[in-house]
Symmetry: C2
């Protein structure tokens, strides 16, 4: 009997990632603790098992995609956790976006048992996962990354190796802090132009070509009618929620505090997204922050909780 | 006798812009009130005249490139200002980065006299001016912009028409607010990675390819050794000074206040650059803000006032 890939956490991201592996001809067993995720996994034809023991027995690799560090810590380091159940020839690919400390703690424990592990959080969101075009931000030894690459290449388009284990989540945190700032900056830029009664379409075109450009302004434009296929054109339905961006900015803020780094705009961005979430917009796409910035000038279609 | 171009303000930017016109075979007379600028203009072979009357007599176009709104207002609207001395067939090309209100005031007065005017501030800095590769951000009527284009094309590579008169400075202000935020965000991102003991070169490469990218991070990188030909590789000698960035962020803040726009990160960036200038680094390149962000982790060559 050939070995299979054990996939833990088949939510919005994990489900389409597991599907990509199945579509590529891999043997995949999946596990989740969420009844909703299990139901959808069964409906979409994934091979759902009922226990970690069943999942991990005779597995060649473990992939996990969970919401937060506490879940990942419990999964791997808990009393009957993954590290108590797998052999030295297993490879762990941990894809959750979590704090560096937890990632390092699990990595160190795995290493002490002779088990190879990489951290490999992703960018590209649900759409990227559905079409196998995620980018993996990877931390781990050359050897472990080499072993993982054929699997990652099925789910992703770019495998970006940042350094030793823990560096994947490290670079993800730095990247998303920059992204959160960019989304607010893009909103401020366009909404200031609007208040000044300028042609916002022309301003967008010009700033995109000039030194004020950032990824969010150009590719995930927070105002409708300027860029095709973005959530701002679909009433700000996510996409990537404001709650997720707040979580990532919080991870960046905690990381910065832990090493006494100075991140004034990162902290300001965290406050702005936290307020937005508290005001009832946690489930809105994060580009909806333009509504909060725009204030009473903001007059675009906004129905983040509506049905398509 | 053929008509000439009257060029007012031949400092760091104006001098090389006027040189481009001369090199292209244009008749150019120049004027400045700064003895230093006049001395350099003479040394570099420009045709310096001693009065506005001499400058403007028989001129076909007036180009101005001055430091601040108050200078531009005095030049055009002062008792013996330009608008009292030129005829209706003159074209005004106002290239200074100033407040929208002053730009509109001069434009309205010119219009009442039947004189065509465009505002056309630039991006690309001294290096762009020297090689004729500025970008012009232009506001004005289609007719005036069409008349100005052959002259602008000598000095610039892109002529970006944003809307009616005043829109050029409007889009410049929006763009540079975004740029000021971006430079601080790039510094926070890279210095956080450094504090976290990550490989800053790999982090830079990865974020550049990912959603955390912005123009400053990619093209004007605030840490040495990552991008060729930027001031961070030359001990932060300008380039574009922190004082100039502070001025532009102040223009953005004033514009935002005038229309009650919400620009929290723009305001935070103004505070950070103001503090940096007050601490003695006004003449440093604006990418030197990475030193202020980096704090005691910052250990790169820094000698912004040294001689090349």
């Amino acid at each position: 009997m050939s070995k299979h890939i054990a996939f833990i956490g088949v939510g919005n991201m994990g489900n389409p990632m597991a599907q990509q592996l199945v579509n590529a001809g891999k043997q995949v067993k999946v596990f989740d603790v969420s009844e909703k995720a299990i139901k959808i996994a069964k409906e979409t034809g994934l091979n759902v098992v009922n226990s970690l023991d069943e999942l991990l027995s005779n597995s060649s690799a473990v992939i996990s995609m969970l919401p937060e560090g506490k879940h990942v810590q419990e999964l791997y380091l808990g009393e009957n956790g993954v590290l108590t159940k797998i052999s030295q020839d297993s490879l762990i690919i941990e894809c959750s976006t979590i704090d560096i400390e937890t990632s390092l703690k699990i990595g160190d424990h795995a290493k002490s048992l002779g088990i190879k592990m990489i951290d490999a959080p992703v960018t590209g969101g649900v759409m990227g996962a559905r079409v196998g075009k995620l980018n993996f931000l990877v931390g781990g030894s050359q050897e472990a990354v080499k072993l993982a690459t054929p699997i990652l290449e099925i789910m992703g388009q770019k495998i970006l190796h940042a350094g030793e284990q823990g560096s994947g989540v490290g670079v993800k945190i730095c990247n998303n802090m920059s992204l959160g700032i960019s989304m607010i900056a893009a909103s401020e830029t366009l909404m200031l132009a609007k208040r000044l009664k300028m042609d916002i379409k022309k301003v967008h075109q010009i700033v995109k070509e000039a030194s004020g450009n950032n990824w969010a302004l150009a590719n995930y434009t927070p105002i409708p009618g300027l860029t095709d296929g973005v959530p701002s054109n679909n009433k700000y339905r996510p996409g990537f929620t404001a709650a997720m961006m707040k979580k990532d900015l919080k991870l960046a803020n905690d990381a910065a505090n832990s090493v006494n780094a100075n991140t004034p705009l990162g902290k300001a961005a965290l406050k702005i997204f936290s307020d937005f979430c508290e005001e009832g917009d946690a489930d809105t796409d994060y580009s909806g922050i333009s509504k909060k910035i725009g204030g009473d000038t903001w007059d675009y279609p906004f129905d983040p909780k509506g049905k398509d």
